[in-house]
């Protein structure tokens, strides 16, 4: 029976356990207090982009009051995670709402959810599954797990991570991916180019010799092959549209009238004792309008803009029966124009820049100044004013003394025969005078002329009515014939100078891998033209880029699924989708060492 018993000292067992515990904690404490303590507790090497931060734990780890107050942070509260996420944002700029899901604002999130819900797409979300803080924030470390080795790809998420929140299970394009509702033609292109009209009509006319042979004659991959960009105006459009831009077909001259004396019925003004001083006489014979740029410079105040609007509506070639109010408008505008020319003549470029800045209420950038002036020769303005017998200085002095001079005819148009020669002289672009309508003109230097572009931009920015004149399809340069105009967030118009400026929040797509496979023979595998598309051009008559009808049929997910099947090739969510929206790529800003040290000290 004695053999069936075994004597074990429980005390010894307990002592062994306690000794083990003491030895374990003691050795650990010894190492922690030693010089290699940090490397001992490091849970793993940082990913290579963060490797240089390995010696400074505090750059990424918060030791704020929250962290001390909540030793169980991460389990019972996510405050610590969010505190640490804010440290991530010291270097990673992620927009205005960096910690909300997809970096959306509440309104954007609502909008997207309702939009996706309407389309029957990824409408169901596992709300309860989303690890949000009380403020609706998600910590960076929820998706980006550090301390997993140098080769750990922090930015790569797997499908299960996406589907923690997105309830719809997607196995890939052929199985479960929602159909595209309008992709990739969900918004208007920056350039108004009607593919159907060109292919079906223009390229079959006598312009056939200029027609491209294939899509890649006009559309080429950009540097990294991600986007297909236009091959450039010279290679694509110039053969047919070059003359329109050069302005050779313009009735009133190839150049844009910049400063002029609009036509006035000076005889009637003289008879009715209207005091506007001398005014170029023969201007009344040609219906010279107020130049849009001069009008922009004159319209600093609301009152001045109202006057200019009424001025353009008055029949200024016959003022014999004009109402007193209208004559008042004519008088005010005439004197303001004289003041403008006096200032420009006296101050030159500085005066012009000052006037534009006053109108925009902001200083101009160096590049803007250069483009808006485009080397306007001071001598040319002086010559023009002399030739048109402008006596603004003396007349304004008389006006100041309460003795404004009466309206008289001043200049003649005797030198107009030389006008075509002056215009031809600047065939490569530049400034010239056109005496037939008393105008100082600028002839555009072909496509993307910086002067026209800059003036379209400033008039658009200020929401000025002159923008409509400069951007009309018949205006010099004919910019808006092809370049779309969109309403900016504030409602002001904005020229679309590039083929596409819109970015899709949740999507990234690269053409490069799609250009080589044998299966894809040409662009029409994915981009299929409609048979007819009457609404394409009318979409450019308004300024909302989302109201759009493309020349192309919406893509089918089945087309993508032919290659992107689970068996054939990469088929993950992140292959096409991005998490962080509103950004081309999360920007890494580099704080200075001092900023980092201050940050550490602040913690």
């Amino acid at each position: 029976m004695a053999q069936r018993r075994i004597e074990i000292s429980t005390t010894k067992v307990r002592i062994a356990s306690i000794a083990g515990a003491a030895a374990g904690s003691g050795v650990l404490a010894l190492f922690l207090l030693g010089s290699r303590g940090k490397s001992l507790v490091l849970p793993g090497p940082l990913a290579s982009p963060h490797a240089m931060l390995e010696e400074n734990c505090e750059i990424c780890h918060s030791s704020t009051f929250d962290a001390v107050q909540h030793p169980l942070s991460g389990w019972v509260t996510s405050d610590l995670d969010l505190a640490q996420s804010r440290l991530c944002l010291e270097c990673h700029a992620l927009g205005k709402h960096p910690l909300t899901p997809h970096a959306w604002s509440r309104d954007e999130a609502k909008q997207y959810r309702s939009q996706l819900g309407q389309d029957g797409q990824v409408a169901s979300f596992r709300d309860s599954a989303v690890p949000l803080s009380a403020r609706g924030h998600v910590a960076c470390s929820t998706c980006h797990r550090e301390h997993r080795g140098r080769s750990n790809e922090l930015a790569t998420l797997n499908d299960q991570q996406c589907q923690t929140c997105h309830a719809r299970t997607l196995e890939g394009f052929p199985h479960g991916h929602p159909e595209f509702s309008s992709y990739p033609y969900d918004q208007r292109t920056g350039i108004h180019f009607d593919h159907l009209a060109h292919i079906q009509r223009h390229f079959r006319s006598d312009l056939q010799k200029h027609a491209p042979g294939r899509c890649t004659d006009c559309h080429i991959p950009d540097g990294d092959g991600k986007k297909m960009v236009l091959a450039g105006f010279e290679k694509t459009c110039m053969a047919c549209h070059g003359a329109a831009i050069a302005g050779t077909a313009q009735l009133d001259g190839a150049g844009l009238s910049v400063l002029t004396f609009p036509a006035l019925d000076t005889l009637s003004l003289e008879k009715r004792d209207i005091a506007i001083g001398a005014w170029p006489a023969d201007a009344s014979e040609v219906e010279t309008e107020m130049a849009p740029i001069a009008s922009f410079l004159l319209g600093k105040t609301e009152r001045e803009r109202e006057d200019l609007e009424r001025f353009s509506a008055i029949d200024r070639l016959d003022l014999s029966f004009a109402a007193e109010d209208d004559l008042g408008v004519v008088t005010r505008v005439a004197w303001n124009l004289k003041r403008l020319y006096v200032r420009l003549a006296a101050e030159g470029h500085t005066g012009l820049i000052g006037l534009i800045e006053e109108r925009l209420s902001r200083p101009l950038q160096e590049r803007e100044r250069d483009d808006l002036i485009s080397g306007l020769p001071g001598e040319l303005l002086a010559t023009a004013l002399d030739a048109w017998a402008f006596r603004g200085d003396s007349e304004l002095s008389q006006l100041a003394q309460g003795m404004p001079p009466k309206a008289t005819m001043s200049a003649s148009t005797g030198r107009t025969v030389e006008d075509p020669k002056r215009e031809r002289f600047v065939s490569q672009g530049g400034w010239y005078l056109q005496h037939s309508d008393f105008s100082l003109r600028y002839r555009p230097n072909g496509h993307a002329d910086p002067f026209l572009r800059a003036w379209l931009d400033v008039t658009a920015e200020s929401g000025a009515s002159e923008f409509d004149q400069l951007s009309s399809a018949t205006a010099q340069g004919a910019c808006a014939k092809c370049h779309g105009i969109e309403a900016s967030a504030g409602g002001a118009p904005r020229m679309q100078w590039h083929a596409r400026e819109h970015k899709r929040d949740l999507l990234h797509f690269s053409h490069r891998p799609h250009l080589t496979p044998d299966e894809i023979t040409d662009c029409s595998t994915c981009h299929v033209l409609k048979e007819t598309s009457d609404d394409y051009s009318s979409a450019f008559d308004q300024r909302d880029p989302l109201i759009f009808s493309s020349n192309f049929k919406t893509m089918a997910t089945a087309t993508c699924g032919e290659c992107h099947s689970p068996e054939a090739t990469d088929n993950t969510c992140m292959l096409c989708h991005s998490y962080h929206v509103n950004l081309p790529a999360p920007r890494v800003q580099t704080p200075s060492l001092n900023e980092l040290f201050e940050q550490i000290a602040g913690n």
């Binding site: 074990i8 356990s17 940090k38 389990w75």
Partner: protein
């Protein structure tokens, strides 16, 4: 088959099955493990409780060989369950740091020690001898010491994880 051999086979089966269960459960739970929630903190504290239970089980006095068999069976079961939780615990965070790898090694040592102790107890119950009793006593002391080391370093590891912000400040100084 003799009773001790049967028991040894059972123990081997338990170990194999628990390993298979650990692998199956963690791979089945991959949406969770790869998802946005991190179960490591919770499983860590569950592990601590399990290890404490193991320690309590080891500390309990058992003088009869039959009672010892029951005790060792409990130890084996608890160890197997602890192994499953441990697999889940490290699934999201494979140990890469020195301390973490040390802890994982100690855990494996404890599992190996459990197997060894169970084998010793089987031998003791079939051929009880003073030499066998001494070997078992020595194992028990060593096993208790390993358990003690694992418990203490595990607690420190848990505290370091929870208070890593404070640790960062202390270690940067």
């Amino acid at each position: 088959m003799t009773a001790p051999r049967k028991t040894a086979v059972r123990f081997a089966v338990i170990l194999v099955l628990s390993t298979a269960a650990a692998i199956t459960i963690t791979s089945m739970a991959s949406p969770l493990a790869h998802g946005l929630y991190d179960a490591s903190l919770i499983t860590g504290w569950v592990l601590l409780i399990l290890l404490a239970a193991l320690a309590a089980c080891t500390w309990s006095p058992r003088r009869g060989l039959s009672a010892l068999g029951t005790q060792l069976r409990w130890v084996a079961l608890l160890t197997a369950f602890t192994m499953i939780v441990f697999a889940g615990h490290i699934h999201n965070f494979p140990p890469l740091g020195i301390l973490d790898r040390g802890l994982a090694s100690i855990f494996l040592l404890l599992t190996a020690s459990s197997s060894w102790g169970f084998w010793l107890s089987i031998r003791l119950r079939s051929h009880s001898s003073p030499k066998g009793q001494t070997a078992f006593r020595t194992w028990l002391l060593a096993h208790s010491a390993i358990l003690g080391v694992l418990l203490s370093t595990g607690v420190i590891h848990g505290l370091l994880i929870h208070c890593h912000g404070v640790m960062a400040r202390l270690l940067d100084k």
